[in-house]
């Protein structure tokens, strides 16, 4: 009974629409850039390595592609160690 009630009130969250949107975001980004997820990994590692050569990194770096309309940008967030 509780399961039935849960399903009735679950709304969007358990539907497949979310999965479709998430998958499309990834696929469209890579289609537009001609990249693959493997390339993204390589890009991330190399960017972090380059920055690490010059400054100390403190914490977990983030490299990702963000979409702005039909344009894409590489968004890099690398926490640096203070003195």
């Amino acid at each position: 009974m509780l399961d039935l009630l849960k399903k009735l009130f679950a709304g969007d969250k358990n539907g497949s629409r979310q999965a479709a949107n998430d998958r499309l975001r990834v696929v469209l980004t890579h289609d537009r850039l001609g990249t693959s997820p493997e390339l993204m990994e390589t890009l991330k590692e190399e960017i972090i390595a380059v920055i690490a050569r010059h400054v100390d990194i403190d914490g977990r770096p983030e490299v990702r592609i963000i979409g702005e309309g039909r344009q894409s940008a590489v968004d890099i967030s690398i926490p640096l160690k203070g003195r």
Binding site: D12, G15, S16, R17, A20, N21, L24, V27, L28, G69
Partner: protein
């Protein structure tokens, strides 16, 4: 009959993915405009796999085709099939036994230029794909309508097509969402209008709901836009009004159970 506009518009209706509703859109938008006394020509560029004649119910009146026009076997006027329902609506059929490499973009452009002299609107029914047929279809067009379904592979193809159109300097690209099911959007199992706009980032021309009556209209060769009582027809008519410059809000696609029952029992 003289055309109404000094400036004709050549509009390509494209999608990438096949079967999303390009031909249906061309048939209905052109019929809707012709009903408003505009002079409209429709060109079937799906050479080898023609469909526009069938959707418009004109398949028995085809004598010449676009390849014969391009090769000089007949004049454009001889090939244009006049729709008996509307004096301003003409169709230029595709060839069925040729293929898309048998005509060039320049030849299509030449035909469009000739059509511009007499017609207010020229719709090009673009074939699926991104090969020669597609390239021919977009070459002469002033604006593009990208048709998509709220479904992942259709959206992916629409995105690719949009990218190509942008790279070909198209400034006027709009989106026609076809076959949306509001019940499935509501239950979280279909991409919504906002989802599609978020992914594709082009301006919205219109939204056509899934409508069983479209199958019936295709069976009969009578574009659904002529049946004023059904949601898809209302939606297509709204798109026609938007093409003519009117600001028409996207219709509320969610009908309550009782409203549908009432319509079913008592008609509109």
């Amino acid at each position: 009959m003289d055309k109404k506009n000094a400036d004709s518009q050549v509009i390509v209706v494209t999608s990438g993915k096949g079967g999303v509703g390009k031909t249906t859109a061309v048939a209905n938008l052109s019929t809707g405009l012709a009903r408003q006394n505009y002079k409209v020509a429709v060109m079937d560029l799906d050479i080898g796999l023609k469909k526009l004649d069938l959707i418009l119910g004109l398949e028995n009146r085809v004598i010449y085709d676009i390849i014969q026009v391009a090769e000089g076997e007949c004049t454009l006027k001889q090939a244009l099939v006049k729709d008996k329902r509307f004096p301003g609506l003409y169709m230029l059929p595709a060839a069925q036994t040729r293929n898309k490499e048998d005509i060039t973009g320049d030849q299509v452009k030449q035909i469009c230029d000739e059509l511009r002299e007499d017609f207010d609107y020229i719709f090009i029914d673009c074939p699926a794909g991104i090969e020669q047929g597609f390239k021919n279809a977009i070459f002469a067009a002033d604006k593009a309508i990208v048709v998509t379904n709220p479904e992942v592979s259709a959206v992916r193809d629409a995105d690719r097509i949009t990218g190509i159109l942008e790279s070909q300097q198209f400034k006027d690209i709009s989106l026609l969402i076809n076959r949306i099911r509001p019940d499935m959007v509501k239950s979280g199992n279909m991409l919504s209008i906002d989802d599609l706009l978020e992914h594709l980032c082009i301006k919205l021309l219109g939204v056509i709901p899934e409508d069983k009556n479209v199958v019936v209209s295709t069976n009969k060769g009578e574009p659904i836009v002529l049946n004023d009582n059904t949601p898809a027809a209302v939606a297509f008519n709204n798109v026609v009004r938007r093409l003519l410059g009117e600001d028409v809000p996207i219709m509320n696609l969610e009908e309550s159970f009782w409203q549908r029952l009432k319509n079913h029992l008592f008609g509109n």
